[in-house]
């Protein structure tokens, strides 16, 4: 059995053979996972300095040189690396007095912080499979982003207490601005909110729960939703980026909703982390510094703040190392351009806009396929995996250790 690192569900039941440049005998992979496995054969990177092929040792030496001479380097990415690699990465940041940040900084971080500090109750996906009768995808579209979420955990499987499952015992709801792929599965329970309207929507739910008529939205639908929430025996809410971007600083109102729901029944929250080990990085950095992301080690001690976010630091740092991430395509134009203009080191198994713009490219083994390690699933469960094929490429962890030694 192999583990898929295509998303933060880290499916451990994958069967696949990768040989002779072909993927065959595949079982249990979703479409996204299939693409991920196939990537072993496409657009692989080679060691490069300023667009010219070099050998690995030269690329590593050049990376070390750039970082050594930088005054305020930024180390960014991390969500697609194993815990072992992240661990070395954090030590490297400490050694360099650098700023370190991961992709959670512009996605799930603001909610993950509350989950890890315990201010919002959470559970495992196995609990969801066994007990949940209501699952709410809020600004999340797992059918597109985490394709096996509904079939492995939240809707279709027969769990300990949910033998009649989706036919009789489970309800799945979607809160979204549009009819997403997931919403088409549970049309009757799609609650549409206008962009940025999630806080008001929550206030409306809170007033329905108090038995009041909501001032906003479709009153009949809101009252129906209030009824469903109250009747739930064991509910789970899965917030995606739609909710996060809408609430932004106002996460407190969601916290209030969850506290209120838990006075009535049980409701747990699992953030829909995207990349396979974002949560792992957040947990590890928190353990070491007290903060889940946006940390600067300047002056030797860890400090935290928005000025250390990749969006801000891209404009103030004087060199950047990007690992397992493609900020040039995933961040807004202004930030991406600022990164592209820096002395940039990219560690990545695959070619991307970021590796194209980087002065130094270091190829890495693909975690899960060519390198083993440990990662943390979106619900906090640690998953250990072995590689399924042998590759000559070094893993992220080894590359980072070698850079560290050379500094």
């Amino acid at each position: 059995m192999a583990t898929c690192t295509g998303c933060s569900l880290l499916c451990e039941d994958i069967e696949a053979e990768l040989s002779g440049g072909k993927l065959s005998k595949v079982k249990n992979l979703c479409r996204k996972g299939h693409g991920h496995f196939q990537s072993a054969f496409s657009e692989r990177t080679v060691p490069m300095i300023d667009g010219k092929k070099v050998d690995l040792d030269q690329a590593i030496a050049r990376a070390a040189e750039i970082l050594r001479s930088a005054k305020s380097p930024l180390l960014f990415g991390w969500s697609n690396s194993t815990l072992e690699a992240q661990n070395v990465g954090i030590s490297l940041a400490e050694k360099l007095d650098a700023t370190i940040d991961d992709t959670s900084s512009f996605c799930q971080g603001i909610l993950m912080e509350r989950i890890l500090s315990g201010s919002i109750p959470t559970c495992t996906l196995d609990d969801v499979r066994n007990y949940a009768d209501v699952s709410i995808f809020w600004g999340a579209d797992p059918s597109s982003s985490h394709p096996r979420h509904l079939s492995r955990f939240s809707y279709y499987p027969r769990g300990d207490k949910r033998q009649k499952s989706y036919e009789e015992e489970r309800t799945c709801m979607v809160v979204d601005v549009r009819m997403s792929a997931t919403a088409t599965l549970c049309k009757d329970y799609l609650f549409r909110v206008p962009p940025g309207g999630d806080a008001e929507f929550i206030e409306a739910i809170l007033s329905v729960l108090e038995g009041k008529i909501p001032r906003l939205g479709d009153k009949k639908k809101m009252i129906e939703l209030g009824g469903l929430l109250k009747k739930a025996e064991w509910g789970a809410i899965f917030p995606g980026l739609g909710m996060i971007y809408s609430l932004q600083d106002n996460m407190e109102v969601f916290e209030r909703l969850i506290a209120r729901l838990n006075e009535i029944t049980t409701f747990k929250v699992i953030p829909m982390a995207g990349h396979f080990n974002m949560r792992g990085f957040n947990e590890l950095l928190r353990e070491k510094t007290g903060y889940i992301n946006r940390v600067s080690f300047e002056g030797g001690a860890a400090s935290h703040g928005p000025e250390n976010s990749v969006v801000a630091a891209a404009k103030t740092c004087d060199a950047a190392l990007v690992i397992g991430s493609d900020p040039l395509s995933s961040l807004p134009f202004g930030t991406a351009r600022a990164l592209a203009r820096l002395p940039l080191i990219a560690i990545d198994p695959r070619r991307s806009l970021t590796t194209d713009a980087a002065g130094v490219v270091i190829p890495a083994a693909i975690s899960g396929l060519e390198a083993g390690g440990t990662a943390v699933r979106m619900d906090g469960v640690k998953i250990k995996f072995e590689p399924i094929i042998k590759a000559d490429l070094p893993a992220d962890e080894q590359i980072l250790s070698r850079i560290m030694e050379a500094i």
Partner: protein
């Protein structure tokens, strides 16, 4: 030219291609350099094959394929979360240091401009790339 709210998000094909290391392929451009509009808005614009999406100040603009889809409400557009959308996403960082991937105001008009692949787009925007 009409103003819309831009919503970005994942699609399974985007995920499959991005995870498959095909982000610089023609398939990826076909899948991600697109803008879904409500059928009413789309018709009102003359059912164009391509549209130019720009920031309200007109500073940043990107041409993408347009199509009508019932999943979005009038006044909204949906673009897969990829480099094309990121050209016009509001980089407003709030105190949270987070860009506005959902609900950025954008202008949309029909266009004859060509839709660029990721590499050409980067080349045009940054004046670099290979």
């Amino acid at each position: 030219m009409m103003q819309f709210l831009l919503n970005t998000g994942s699609t399974i094909e985007e995920g499959r291609l991005a995870k498959g290391g095909s982000k610089l392929s023609v398939d990826y451009t076909q899948e991600c350099a697109v803008c879904e509009m409500n059928p009413e808005d789309y018709e009102a614009m003359g059912s164009p094959e391509r549209v130019l999406v720009s920031t309200p100040d007109g500073k940043h603009r990107v041409a993408v394929y347009a199509y009508a889809g019932p999943s979005v409400c009038c006044g909204h557009i949906f673009m897969p979360r990829a480099i094309w959308a990121n050209v016009v996403v509001d980089p407003e960082t709030f105190s949270t240091g987070s860009p506005l991937y959902k609900g950025s105001p954008v202008m949309v008009e029909a266009t004859e401009e060509d839709v660029l692949g990721a590499e050409d787009l980067v080349h045009k925007l940054y004046g670099r790339g290979r």
